[in-house]
């Protein structure tokens, strides 16, 4: 195992009862890489992510994050997680939401407040800090969720469909932020449906029918499949139905 790899998934299998969601997944992610997980809904992207975040235990195989076998509560504190649905406390204001999550990572007092201000500014919610979440728009909630995922300066950022339901301008801002974090050495795993977003990723893993059907840089995937777009590549690999690794 290379020390460079912050995430290493080997022979991963996850099943619920008799239903096998994912099988024989092998995947490694390098430090400072943006990996995109692409796949139709229900293909098991979130299942894979939950195993990386340590919320579930693989049925077989292993998930190793930062050289530690998951689930591990110690490693969890190095991961920033943005769930698919905004998990926010509606009857608290944005500021209190951030401070609460910060305190779960052991941050408190002045440093926590300073950091809360920082991340609020980062997602352009500086003036909305005292507003209750129930009065937030969908896009504002998404932004706050990102701010919370960033509050403890995680080494790894796991984003489950972070840009669903937000407008193109905001999406662009999100991606600028992701690029900036990448430069700081943060490793990012992102699931998405949006194909033009996939172009921004360093590497893409296409998930379908319980396995990774293709993995590589967007360029490689397009060349290999002879298609001009990631979308075309995705459809191409879907048809082939077998796992090819580049």
């Amino acid at each position: 195992m290379s020390v460079e790899n912050v995430i290493e998934i080997e022979h991963f299998k996850q099943q619920f009862g008799k239903f096998v969601v994912l099988e024989n997944i092998n995947l490694s992610v390098k430090k400072g890489e943006i990996l995109g997980l692409l796949g139709p809904s229900g293909s098991g992207k979130t299942t894979l992510i939950k195993a990386i975040v340590g919320m579930s235990e693989p049925s077989s195989g292993s998930v190793t994050v930062l050289q530690t076998k998951m689930p591990s509560l110690y490693v969890v504190s190095k991961i920033g997680y943005m769930a698919q649905s905004d998990a926010l406390y509606e009857d608290l204001n944005a500021y209190d939401n951030i401070l609460f999550f910060a305190s779960l990572y052991g941050m408190k007092g002045k440093p926590a407040k300073k950091r809360a201000d920082e991340v609020l500014a980062l997602v352009l919610l500086k003036d909305e800090g005292k507003k209750l979440i129930k009065n937030f728009s969908g896009g504002m909630k998404r932004r706050l969720s990102l701010a919370i995922a960033l509050v403890h300066k995680p080494e790894i950022l796991i984003l489950d469909e972070p840009t669903v339901g937000i407008d193109p301008v905001l999406r662009l801002q999100f991606w600028r932020e992701f690029e900036r974090l990448k430069k700081e050495g943060v490793t990012i795993i992102i699931t998405t449906h949006v194909m033009d977003e996939a172009e921004h990723c360093d590497r893409l893993a296409l998930i379908r029918e319980g396995g990774i059907i293709a993995i590589g840089t967007p360029q490689e995937l397009k060349e290999k499949s002879g298609e001009n777009t990631v979308e075309g590549a995705f459809l191409y690999y879907g048809k082939e139905g077998e796992v090819k690794s580049i």
Binding site: G54, M55, L73, L88, F100, F101, L104, G106
Partner: protein, 337 residues
């Protein structure tokens, strides 16, 4: 400490939710007041029609009941049918015949008691009656009040805690906070402490209202009662959050009420279980409410101390701890570690 973070967050959340606070603080007091109004305002003098009777008899009866003269049995019967009176008396020579409405046993016994007093009057020396606990004036509400107070604390705490924890799950925030280094027991304990604050206030309000507002008999120590109530509430708080882990939505949570909550009051000693089947007695031993009810009655009506009820107290503490532990285990469903 993360336990305190959760507790603090809950307090902040609930402070903004005025309606829930109103429910927590006002509802138990309101229900308790209604029950006391119903149970203590029972009529103490029966309404009796007399058709024919010796004057001396009527005179004596008048001191014990509201007596009206009826001209014929038909009129008296009609009055009885219309529920204007509780009974009528007709004398056949020296033997009185009494007809009662009979559908309500409490009224029947009221009439019978009144007429018994009439017949045992004067001739015999009145016995001197002593009470070990309680008194002649103690009504149904007075003897039930300790149990009712405990039960309403138990019930309302269960509701609020159950729904609050359910909300955490439905909104996805439970999943989210489990993606942080938060430990499962820290969530359980955080909830316990956060709600503990509101529950304690609620308990104090209801207890003060019952004892000083409704004047229920209270011969024991206020603080001993508070200890029992708080431990009982802790058990309910833990039970509410535990059961909410097995409910998908509020509706499913409420389905636990007839199964888990209602039997608790029925088997807690509010009805005499001496002649009930064995299974009822066993059930009553399973429910935590039984131990709470017994301890509260012992302290409030019989003036016992916490030392005297230590067995009940230990059972209640045991139940609370058990529920908290099970709750921590139940959360494994959401995160393995």
């Amino acid at each position: 400490m993360r336990v305190l973070s959760i507790a603090k967050r809950l307090i902040k959340q609930l402070r903004g939710d005025k309606r829930s606070i109103a429910l927590i603080f006002v509802a138990p007091v309101f229900v308790m007041y209604l029950l006391s109004a119903i149970l203590t305002s029972a009529t103490t003098t029966p309404n009796i029609d007399v058709i024919s009777a010796p004057d001396a008899y009527v005179e004596r009866l008048q001191s014990l009941a509201n007596v009206n003269k009826a001209f014929s049995e038909e009129i008296a019967l009609k009055n009885l049918n219309d529920k204007n009176i509780d009974a009528y008396i007709i004398f056949n020579g020296i033997k009185p015949t009494i007809t009662l409405e009979g559908a309500d046993p409490s009224i029947t016994s009221l009439v019978m008691n009144t007429l018994n007093k009439l017949s045992t009057n004067s001739t015999m020396q009145k016995p001197e009656i002593n009470f070990l606990h309680g008194s002649m004036d103690m009504g149904a509400f007075d003897s039930m009040a300790p149990i009712l107070m405990g039960f309403f604390i138990f019930f309302f705490v269960f509701l609020i805690a159950g729904v609050a924890f359910l909300r955490e799950r439905i909104s996805g925030t439970l999943d989210r906070i489990l993606a942080t280094p938060l430990k499962r027991w820290e969530i359980v304990l955080g909830y316990f402490l956060g709600f503990g604050l509101f529950v304690s206030i609620q308990t104090i309000i209801l207890q003060v209202f019952s004892i000083y507002g409704l004047n229920v008999p209270m011969v024991g120590s206020f603080w001993a009662v508070l200890v029992i109530n708080l431990v009982l509430a802790s058990g309910s708080l833990a039970l509410g959050t535990l059961l909410s882990a097995f409910a998908r939505n509020e509706f499913q949570l409420f389905q636990f009420i007839p199964i888990v909550i209602v039997p608790q009051i029925m088997f807690s000693g509010i009805f005499d279980l001496r002649n009930s089947p064995a299974f009822a007695k066993i059930l009553s031993k399973i429910f935590p409410m039984t131990y709470g009810a017994e301890a509260l009655r012992d302290i409030m009506l019989r003036g016992k101390s916490l030392i005297d009820v230590k067995y009940d107290l230990l059972m209640l503490i045991g139940y609370a701890l058990l529920f908290l532990m099970l709750n921590t285990l139940a959360l494994k469903k959401y995160r393995r570690a």
